[in-house]
């Protein structure tokens, strides 16, 4: 059976795969059942075995890294969907867990940055100056360079690769996403969790209807080549 490989951040991840507190509340709100995400709906519709490697909150470094980890399992006629995150994100090592932690804008409040378990005491000014540096458009080319080697591997191994993003600065004509993809999906009826729960939960990740709209959009684009 061919496989549908998904690489990306929270916009591609399956609900409940990671232990994020906000999704605990969402599950409770939905009486213990998460809705199907777009990748689950898509794999079922296409008849492909789903390999969703997306992890919430990851940077593009993690996404490319995960692709590299899995590349020797990707086979001819598999479909690979890469959902890039925001280019500004980067990663540092959390030495208490010896793992990477993603740094995102708006994520880091001073009281959290002082938490040594998160960033080993890396100063907030350090974070801000790097985030500021990463707002330069040159960082986008780093992702496009990764894509050229991914495209080469796609040719060699003969799998289909598809790119998309919610980051309008990164979006390109060869992506299946539109320039204002999130807004465009919302215009088509997609709802985030905040809207779906009538503001009872504050979460800008797509909920059930959001994932359904995104699934239909992707299915349409994959069917039309």
């Amino acid at each position: 059976m061919n496989k549908l490989w998904i690489f990306g951040d929270n916009a591609s991840a399956i609900f409940g795969k990671t232990k994020e507190r906000r999704f605990k509340y969402y599950k409770e709100y939905r009486n213990g059942i998460f809705p199907k995400t777009w990748s689950e709906l898509l794999s079922k519709e296409l008849g492909y075995d789903l390999r969703n490697m997306a992890v919430s909150g990851q940077s593009n470094y993690d996404i490319f890294d995960m692709f590299c980890k899995c590349i020797d399992q990707i086979q001819k006629d598999d479909i690979v969907i890469i959902g890039w995150g925001y280019v500004q994100r980067f990663r540092l090592v959390d030495k208490s867990t010896n793992s990477f932690v993603t740094i995102r804008q708006n994520q880091l409040k001073p009281e959290r940055i002082d938490n040594p378990s998160l960033l080993n005491g890396v100063n907030i000014d350090v974070i801000n100056s790097i985030l500021n540096n990463r707002s330069n458009s040159e960082w986008i080319n780093e992702v496009y360079n990764w894509e050229s080697v991914m495209n080469l591997l796609s040719k060699l191994i003969r799998f289909k690769v598809v790119y998309w993003t919610f980051d309008s600065t990164l979006n390109k004509p060869h992506y299946i996403s539109t320039n204002d993809f999130r807004i465009d999906l919302i215009k088509q009826g997609a709802e985030d969790i905040t809207l779906e729960t009538n503001g009872k939960l504050i979460d800008d990740n797509f909920g059930e209807r959001g994932h359904l709209i995104q699934f239909n959009y992707f299915l349409n684009h994959i069917h039309n080549g």
């Binding site: 020797d72 090592v93 030495k95 100056s129 080697v149």
Partner: protein, 225 residues
């Protein structure tokens, strides 16, 4: 004619260019001619046309990109030798809007903190303090950043596996212990410029004789498979 592709940093870069680093220009002056580097010696010995793409002071992200840029022009039976740089190095956008590599000169971060003097040109970045550089370098002193390079190595090998011979090594053998590279034992015994010039030029890059010995190592590696 088959090609020898060389990628790497100053330990692989050619002396045959106009805009030489100070130490390289001094050494060339001291020798009275343009000294050869290991890529020159090796290409002569194996009768491959040399494509030396190594860049002095490069970080591994830029190095990886320099390979991606030409990877589809590498032909069957070419030979590719990649000399990975220190995983401590990273890059930021400079005032001109391009990438500049940050290079810590000191290996012993605990005893000798990274100093402004060891920056290539500290005033070339917008809003980046020496403290930011220090904290990032210390954070990068972690095995995970070597594993990141291992993914690059995996991708390069996969792209070239059925095409040509690829050798990965690093002049930073002590810092890069966990990289998937060949460990060249003779590196620390290679003659350096400071040795050859009896301290007249205080530089620890390989002398022409050091480069010749290194080229013989690579020759043995290639011919003895």
């Amino acid at each position: 004619m088959n090609k020898l592709w060389v990628f790497g940093d100053s330990f692989s870069a050619t002396n045959k260019k106009n805009n030489l680093e100070n130490w390289r220009a001094q050494y060339k002056n001291w020798k009275g001619y343009t000294p050869l580097v290991w890529g020159d010696f090796l290409s002569l010995k194996i009768q491959h046309k040399l494509n030396n793409c190594a860049i002095g002071g490069i970080d591994n992200y830029t190095l990886f990109e320099s390979i991606i840029d030409v990877i589809d022009t590498i032909n069957e039976n070419d030979i590719v030798i990649v000399g990975w740089s220190s995983a401590l190095r990273f890059r930021l956008i400079d005032k001109n809007g391009g990438f500049t590599t940050i290079r810590p000169n000191d290996h012993n971060l605990d005893n000798k903190p990274f100093t402004r003097a060891s920056l290539t040109n500290p005033i070339q970045f917008n809003d980046i303090s020496i403290n930011t550089i220090n904290e990032l370098v210390i954070n990068r002193d972690n095995i995970l950043f070597q594993y990141e390079v291992n993914r690059f190595i995996k991708i390069i090998n996969l792209c070239l596996i059925n095409k040509c011979r690829v050798i990965h090594w690093s002049p930073f053998i002590i810092q890069n212990k966990s990289m998937d590279i060949i460990k060249i034992d003779c590196l620390e015994y290679l003659e350096k410029i400071v040795d050859e010039t009896n301290g007249y030029i205080k530089d620890n890059h390989y002398s022409e004789n050091g480069h010749r010995v290194l080229s013989e190592y690579f020759y043995d590696l290639i011919t003895k498979n």
